[in-house]
Symmetry: C2
Subunit: 460 residues, 2 copies
């Protein structure tokens, strides 16, 4: 095992609550609320009911862990599976920039399910989530940009992040964390190919990452051994799935840099790669007092990753594809001033102004933007007006980034909007959940929270 | 979608029992018996009980599908998981040469579990298994040697092979098979890194391949969509995990070449990469009338894949590592004349003659052998005697290969030895199982078979 993997596993084994700065603890609560809203917002939306039916077919009739969208219970494995699928669906869950990892949608489903199963407290859940975020983000950074070109990092690295979170709940020692990484890493999978067809794999990826990570931890607890050098070994993850891996990332500033607080909240309900341009367009339209009909052409200057992920969709056929269409997102921004869930579901595919605006938008690779990525997601747009004037929009931190983050009031507002979107919970439930999550560190167990979240009319 | 994936999915959708040559049907029965013996032989051996405990924790108390080593029942998912782990443990399951895929250990656990769940017949199970073998073998050939250098093909491709088998049981049409490949392919995972540490991942790999393949089929049946071009697409399996993929392999002689009957049975209880040299050593020792103590040095001339997989183990610490130690395997052949399960468990680690012989054995890359691989696994050894004479041993088809296959009597004998090794079943049960499997095509359902296999004293 290399010094870097060694250092990472030692850090994970020794991590404890008292060591966490207040900013890390409270941000974990923020991220948890944000995640919970994302999960509940998917109630009833395809393909989530398929996962619920699968869990009912293959799992026990009831169990210690809660499937959030239904309020039903199952074993920890199936709760992690369905909640993992749920929380990535509306594209509103968090993202860490430099790792290009969505940590919440893989870490929280696994640690919440395991915490319910094992009777752990809110405080223990927070430490577990921090472990999952810190490890997952560093492993994502380690695998680098070449990995992300083909592999969906949230699926692959997400399996390890989820595993680490559950391993921390189980108080693993350094040796167990080593086996755990081996067992999780050799299950890591998830390819971007599905994007071209708007297939349902994105939900499958996060479902499986959360569930397989949990499986890895439970089997490790039982005594299953794993490869000691799965990350850096000659036949390990980097060898098979990266050409620019940097081992030093694995142990980068452990215990002093808290990568969790670098995580961005999503403000727009679209693929994160569209956000810098969306905010830059908003900036220039407000500054120049432009309306959608004033605009003849928008050139977005982007990083390569945006072209890789967004380049495929020409004319979106589904709401999900619309979230990956740069022209559609900018059209919603231009016409409605925002690109939230209601705009996507009510207007993205049907309002002719959106389709017309979409055709005015193009992406070009910008060396400066690409060079800053993935540490910084710069927004640069060039807008040509119908009068022929060209003006530029620019933002250096999209809304939701650490330097431009959401306040607790903004997070509450987003949470309520997410719950209202699906109708999963009443206003009273939303209020109760916000209250509980802001006291997450004081909860003796998590069942009070899942009971409060249970959709009206369901048995918990 | 390319013409090759299109042709493959059309073949799978239209495949039917009446189309199968008698040789394919009877060989499927042979392969099924061989697989069943391998699964039952692992009863009680680490790490199989860990998987059984995991299934008990996360699955239902009982269900339609049988966990072979315990005779307990569960849902199809957990039966596929545990049986997938079980059947690869003793390294006696079948192998297809040119794909370097072990089809039985991933296909049969999935199709047996699903057949029990869906109430399918032996005949339907045979067609499903043929579909899984034919697709899996071609996909393994498609991904090529570069894939196998880092990835455990039985894990990655195994996920698709298992999925196809279950999809066939569910009578999928061409469109469903397309979605199924997408959903299975994006879950494909499994790295060779574990070999260096003799970690338990090999069982995890086959367990997960069988179970994830089954999951893919059940979710596809529910309506989950998958990428249409997961094999050949720009961000698909070949793009991410191969550098020498050959799409023409996917549609190679569909319906006229039956790849299933090219599958080899394992005669020795070791990694298949040791078999050509083992048989070549046996050949020269018998021809030259040599005893172990006559031999000063053995040079095995091998293909690169053997060096990649076997090269790591120097002094084996476990029986499992011993099966991947060329020197240990040749030591058992030289001293005991065979390398079966009893030899591995009773002598491989403890008989000083084996350790001494191991140090006399080396591997060198042979261009001719490497050029023939993986279509042909040639055995070439150069033996130097203590008197200083050098003699060569050579075989072109290891025992168990299609041109040197095992008869039904030899398969029965191997089956009985496997069951006796673990004590899972009595002689009477073995006789009953052999009888049932030789009539597999006539069984209305598979429960009679799993009941007969249930270990004494267990409830089914």
């Amino acid at each position: 095992m290399s010094q870097h993997t060694q250092a990472l596993t030692e850090f994970l084994a020794s991590l404890h609550y008292e060591q966490l700065p207040e900013a890390v603890i409270s941000r974990t609560e923020d991220l948890f609320l944000d995640w919970l809203g994302s999960a509940l917002a998917s109630q009833g939306s395809h393909p989530i009911p398929l996962f619920e039916r699968y869990a009912a077919m293959m799992g026990p009739v009831s169990g210690p862990a809660t499937i959030l969208v239904s309020g039903k219970t199952s074993s920890a494995y199936f709760a992690a599976l369905v909640n993992g699928a749920s929380s990535h669906l509306v594209e509103q869950d968090d993202l860490h920039n430099s790792s290009v990892l969505h940590p919440a949608t893989v870490v929280f489903p696994a640690v919440l399910a395991a915490a319910q199963d094992l009777g752990k407290s809110g405080r223990e859940l927070i430490v577990a989530a921090v472990a999952g975020y810190e490890a997952g983000i560093r492993i994502g950074e380690f695998l680098g940009r070449s990995h992300y070109r083909i592999f969906h990092t949230t699926a692959t690295v997400g399996t390890l992040a989820a595993a680490v979170g559950v391993g921390k709940l189980m108080d693993f020692n350094q040796e167990q964390f080593t086996h755990l990484l081996g067992t999780a890493g050799t299950q890591a999978a998830g390819l971007w190919e599905f994007l071209r067809d708007a297939a349902d794999s994105k939900q499958l990826h996060t479902a499986k990452a959360a569930a397989d990570g949990l499986l890895a931890a439970y089997l490790t607890a039982e005594g299953l051994s794993g490869a000691k050098n799965i990350l850096e070994g000659e036949q390990g993850m980097a060898a098979g799935m990266s050409s620019d891996a940097n081992p030093a990332c694995l142990s980068d500033s452990l215990g002093s840099r808290w990568a969790l607080i670098e995580t961005s909240f999503k403000f727009h309900a679209s693929c994160r790669h569209t956000h810098p341009a969306a905010d830059a367009l908003l900036e220039v339209m407000q500054r120049e007092n432009l309306r959608a009909e004033d605009i003849a052409r928008v050139i977005t200057r982007v990083h390569q990753g945006a072209i890789d992920v967004l380049g495929r969709v020409q004319v979106p056929q589904t709401v999900h594809q619309a979230k990956f269409s740069m022209g559609t997102v900018l059209g919603l921004i231009a016409v409605y001033g925002k690109a939230g869930l209601p705009e996507f579901h009510q207007h993205a595919l049907t309002d002719p102004r959106i389709g017309a605006f979409r055709d005015k938008v193009s992406m070009v690779l910008d060396e400066h933007v690409d060079g800053a990525y993935p540490q910084r997601w710069l927004g640069r747009v060039e807008v040509t007006t119908v009068q022929g004037r060209t003006v530029s929009g620019s933002i250096d931190e999209p809304k939701g980034d650490p330097g431009n983050t959401l306040s607790r009031a903004e997070l509450e507002d987003k949470f309520r909007r997410l719950l209202a979107f699906s109708g999963a919970c009443s206003d009273e439930q939303a209020t109760g959940l916000v209250e509980l999550v802001w006291h997450l560190r004081h909860l003796d167990n998590l069942d009070v929270l899942t009971r409060t979240a249970a959709p009206a009319g369901t048995a918990s």
